[in-house]
C-alpha cells in the first residue's frame, strides 16, 4: 500500500483544487473561470430544480406555499404501483451493477494487460455502442429483442426458446433485459475511463511488482485493482444514480410491446405519470425526492466505506 501513496490519483476535481491552493493569482482566476461554466449549469439544471422539487414535495397539490408535511410522500408511498416500481428497480440494479463492475473491470484489466498494439482498436470497439444516443440505442434493442427480426434470431429462438417479442419482454425478464441494454450502451464508456485510470499507474509500480514475481493475474488483482478502487466507487455512485432513475428503456419499449410493458415500471415513470396524467407535480416531486434520498444514502455509504475523499 505504500506504493499507492506515491501515485497521484487521477481524480480531476481534487487535483484541480489542490493545484488551485498551491498556485495563487492569475492561475487561480483561470481556474474559477473554467469551473464557473460548470457551476452555472449545475445551479440552473441541478441545484435549482432540486430545490424546486423539494419545495413541491412538501407543499399541497397546486396550492403554492401551503405546507403539506409528509402527506405527498405518504400518498404516493401507499399507491399500489409504488412498491412494485421500487422492487423492479432493485432487481434491475442488482443485475446491472454486478455486471458493470465485473465485466467492465475484467475487460479494462484485460485491455491494460494485453498487447499494446491492439489496445486503441479494442478501446474504440468497446466505446462504439456508447456513442449511439441513448434513445436511438433503445430503438435498436427493440429490433434485437424481436426473435423474427433480430440478428440473434438463433439465440432467442433456439437457446432461450422465445416464441415471440412478447415472450422476450415478459415482466420477469424485464430487469435483465433493461440491464443488458444499459450495459451495452454504457459499459464501453466506463471501460475507456478505467483504461485511462489504469494508464495512470506508473510503469515502475508494475515493473517492481513483476520483479517481485507477480504473475498477470496477481498483477491485475493485487496491484492494479487496489490502485483504481476509487474509480470503481465513482462508477458505482454514478451508475446507481442513473440506474434508479431508469425511464428511457421502459418508456420506449412500451409502444414497441403494444402496451404490454407497464407505464409505471420504474419509480421515475410513476412520477412522470403523476405529473402528466394527473397533472400532480407535487406527487411527482415526492417520488423524485424519494429517489434523491435513496441515491444520497447509497452514495454516502460508498463514499464513507471507501474513504473516497481521503487525501493520500
Amino acid at each position: 500500500m505504500t506504493l499507492a501513496h506515491t501515485i497521484s490519483l487521477p481524480a480531476p476535481t481534487r487535483a484541480q483544487s489542490r493545484a488551485g491552493r498551491r498556485r495563487a493569482g492569475g492561475r487561480q482566476r483561470t481556474g474559477y473561470i473554467f469551473v464557473s461554466v460548470y457551476l452555472v449549469l449545475l445551479l440552473l439544471f441541478g441545484v435549482v430544480p432540486t430545490l424546486y422539487a423539494l419545495y413541491l414535495a412538501f407543499t399541497k397539490t397546486n396550492q403554492p406555499w401551503h405546507w403539506a408535511g409528509l402527506s405527498n410522500f405518504l400518498k404516493t408511498g401507499r399507491d399500489y404501483r409504488f412498491i412494485p416500481a421500487f422492487e423492479h428497480i432493485a432487481i434491475y440494479l442488482a443485475i446491472w451493477l454486478t455486471m458493470l463492475v465485473v465485466v467492465v473491470l475484467f475487460l479494462a484489466l484485460m485491455l491494460h494487460g494485453g498487447v499494446r498494439r491492439v489496445v486503441p482498436a479494442f478501446r474504440f470497439v468497446f466505446y462504439i455502442p456508447g456513442a449511439l444516443a441513448g434513445a436511438a440505442s433503445v430503438v435498436v434493442w427493440a429490433f434485437m429483442l424481436e426473435p423474427e427480426l433480430s440478428p440473434w434470431h438463433f439465440a432467442l429462438s433456439s437457446i432461450f426458446h422465445f416464441a415471440g417479442f412478447q415472450s422476450v419482454i415478459l415482466p420477469q425478464h424485464l430487469p435483465p433485459v433493461f440491464a443488458v441494454i444499459a450495459f451495452w450502451t454504457g459499459a464501453g464508456g466506463w471501460i475507456v475511463v478505467m483504461n485511462g485510470a489504469l494508464n495512470n499507474i506508473s510503469d515502475e509500480v508494475i515493473d517492481s511488482a513483476r520483479i517481485d514475481g507477480a504473475n498477470a493475474l496477481q498483477l491485475a488483482l493485487r496491484v492494479k485493482l487496489p490502485l483504481i478502487k476509487k474509480w470503481v466507487v465513482y462508477m458505482l455512485i454514478l451508475a446507481f444514480a442513473t440506474g434508479t432513475q431508469l425511464i428511457v428503456e421502459p418508456t420506449l419499449l412500451e409502444p414497441a410491446s403494444f402496451g404490454t410493458i407497464s407505464s409505471y415500471w420504474s419509480p421515475n415513470q410513476l412520477a412522470y405519470w403523476f405529473a402528466t396524467q394527473m397533472d400532480n407535480f407535487n406527487y411527482a416531486a415526492a417520488i423524485s425526492v424519494d429517489l434523491l434520498f435513496v441515491g444520497l444514502v447509497a452514495a454516502g455509504l460508498l463514499v464513507f466505506r471507501s474513504k473516497f475523499f481521503e487525501l493520500d
Binding site: L149, Q166, Q277
Partner: protein, 446 residues
C-alpha cells in the same frame, strides 16, 4: 389572472418578431415564404390543428377544398396506445396559460373522459349550439357516447371500430366450412381446424384489445359505468366467464393463438393462414386487402360477415376497438371558426373519404363505404354488413378516464403469454380496473 395579464405582452413580442420576419421576407431575405391566399383573412390567426400522421390526408384534403381557411397543422402521436401525450401537453399549457391547439385529434376513444374533467377541463362543449343539432343527429346512433361528460357533448367521433367476422372465402370453401353465425359455431370450427388443419387460425388473442373483441360482445360487465363516478366490475358475471371458457380451449389448441395482426411479424407467421378472425371494420384495408395492408391478400380473398351472436340470445351485440375523437379546445380564441373547421373534418365527405376507419357521421360513412366497395378488393360488398353492424356496439363497455386497453395489455397479456387461461385473468383485470378507478375517484361495485 396573472397568466391572462401576461398574455398580451407575449403576443406583442411575438407580433414584433413576426413583423420583423415579414419585413425581411418583403426585402427578399425570406426563404420562399409564399404569399397569403387572396381569400385568407389576413387579420385572423391560423387555426391550430394537432393530428396524428394517419389523419394528415384528411386534413390536407379538407384544406385543399377550403383554401381560404388558414390552418396550422401540427403532427403528433395522437395519444397512441393511451400514452397520454394529449394530457401531458394540455397539462403544461394549462400551467403556462397559453399554447393550446384549437382542435386536437385523439386516437383514444376514452380520452375525453379524462380531458373533460379536472384537472384538465380542456374540451369545449358542443351541444349548446356550437354545433347544430341537424349535424349531431346525423351521427350513427350511440357513436358520440364516448364524448359525453354527463349531458355535455365534448367531442365528435371520427370513426368507429365495430367488430365484424372476417372470412377467407377460398379457404373456407377448401376446408368445407360454412360461415358461422354464432360464437359457438365459431368455436366448433376452431376445434376442428386445430385437429385437421393445424397452423390455421380463426382469431387471435394476447393483444391489448382482446376485451373489445371478445368480452364486449359477450356483454361482460367488467368496466360498466352505471352512475357518475360508479363503475361496475364483476369478474364472476356469467356473461364474462361464458366467453372466456369458450376461448380457453382455442388458446390451448392454437386455433386462436397469441398473435398480433398489427405486429411486424404477423404476415410472416400467419400470411395465408387466417381462415377467420373477429376484428374491427378498419382491418379491411389495414390487415386484409390492398397495398400497404399487413396480409395484402389476392383480390377477393376476404369478405366481412355479420358480427357473431351468442347462441340463444335475442339480440346480437358487437365490440368496438378504438375510433378517434375530434376535440375542440375551450381555450380557443376563435371558437366558432374552429368549430366549423372541426365539423368539416369530422363530417365532410372530402375529409372523411380519406378516413382509415368507418366514419361515425352516417352520410360520410355511406360515401366512404361506396369507395371501399368500388375498389373491388373484397369478395362481397362490405356496405350491407358494415351498415348493419355499426349500430350494434354494446353500450355498457364504458369509456373511462383509465384506458382499458392499457390495463389489459399490461396486466393480462403477459400472463396469457406465460400460459394462463383467459378465465383466470378476469379477476386480475377486475383488480386492475378497481385500482385505476379508485385513482380517478370512482367507486367500484362488484
Amino acid at each position: 389572472m396573472k397568466e391572462q395579464s401576461s398574455r398580451p405582452s407575449r403576443r406583442t413580442w411575438a407580433g414584433a418578431v413576426a413583423s420583423g420576419l415579414a419585413i425581411c421576407t418583403a426585402m427578399g431575405l425570406g426563404t420562399g415564404v409564399s404569399a397569403a391566399s387572396p381569400h385568407a383573412n389576413a387579420s385572423s390567426k391560423p387555426i391550430v390543428v394537432w393530428v396524428d400522421s394517419a389523419r394528415l390526408a384528411m386534413v390536407h384534403a379538407w384544406q385543399q377544398a377550403n383554401p381560404s381557411v388558414k390552418l396550422d397543422v401540427v403532427t403528433f402521436d395522437g395519444g397512441s396506445g393511451g400514452d397520454g401525450s394529449i394530457q401531458s401537453m394540455v397539462g403544461l399549457d394549462n400551467r403556462t396559460g397559453h399554447g393550446w391547439p384549437d382542435i386536437v385529434f385523439s386516437e383514444n376513444a376514452n380520452d375525453v373522459q379524462s380531458l373533460g374533467q379536472a384537472p384538465f377541463n380542456f374540451p369545449a362543449t358542443l351541444n349548446n349550439g356550437l354545433v347544430s343539432n341537424a349535424i349531431l343527429n346525423n351521427f350513427t346512433a350511440g357513436v358520440n357516447d364516448p364524448c359525453m361528460i354527463g349531458k355535455k357533448l365534448e367531442c365528435l367521433r371520427n370513426d368507429l371500430g365495430f367488430d365484424v367476422l372476417w372470412v377467407n372465402v377460398p379457404l373456407m370453401k377448401q376446408f368445407g366450412y360454412t360461415i358461422p353465425t354464432t360464437w359457438q359455431q365459431w368455436q366448433a370450427i376452431g376445434e376442428d381446424v386445430a385437429k385437421h388443419h393445424p397452423g390455421y387460425i380463426i382469431g387471435e388473442q394476447g393483444v391489448p384489445w382482446d376485451e373489445d373483441i371478445y368480452l364486449q360482445p359477450a356483454q361482460c360487465h367488467l368496466n360498466d359505468v352505471v352512475a357518475p363516478f360508479v363503475v361496475e366490475s364483476n369478474p364472476k358475471d356469467p356473461n364474462c366467464t361464458n366467453m372466456t371458457k369458450l376461448l380457453d380451449p382455442l388458446l390451448k389448441d392454437g386455433s386462436v393463438p397469441i398473435a398480433n395482426d398489427f405486429g411486424s411479424t404477423f404476415a410472416k407467421q400467419y400470411g395465408g393462414k387466417v381462415l377467420l378472425t373477429v376484428g374491427p371494420a378498419y382491418d379491411s384495408r389495414a390487415i386484409f386487402e390492398g397495398p400497404g395492408s399487413a396480409l395484402n391478400s389476392p383480390k377477393g380473398t376476404y369478405e366481412a360477415a355479420a358480427p357473431l351472436k351468442w347462441a340463444g340470445a335475442k339480440q346480437t351485440w358487437t365490440g368496438n376497438v378504438g375510433g378517434g375523437l375530434w376535440i375542440l379546445s375551450s381555450h380557443s380564441s376563435q371558437l366558432a371558426a374552429a368549430a366549423k373547421v372541426m365539423v368539416g373534418l369530422a363530417t365532410s365527405t372530402v375529409s372523411q373519404d380519406q378516413s382509415q376507419g368507418y366514419p361515425g357521421y352516417a352520410p360520410a360513412a355511406k360515401s366512404w363505404i361506396a369507395i371501399q366497395d368500388k375498389s373491388g378488393l373484397f369478395a362481397r360488398p362490405l356496405a350491407p354488413v358494415f351498415a348493419a353492424a355499426a349500430p350494434l356496439i354494446w353500450p355498457d363497455w364504458s369509456q373511462t378516464p383509465w384506458n382499458v386497453f392499457s390495463l389489459w395489455g399490461q396486466n393480462v397479456v403477459p400472463n396469457l403469454v406465460s400460459g394462463s387461461t383467459v378465465t383466470s385473468q378476469l379477476s386480475v383485470m377486475a383488480t386492475a380496473i378497481a385500482n385505476s378507478a379508485q385513482n380517478y375517484g370512482y367507486q367500484v361495485k362488484g
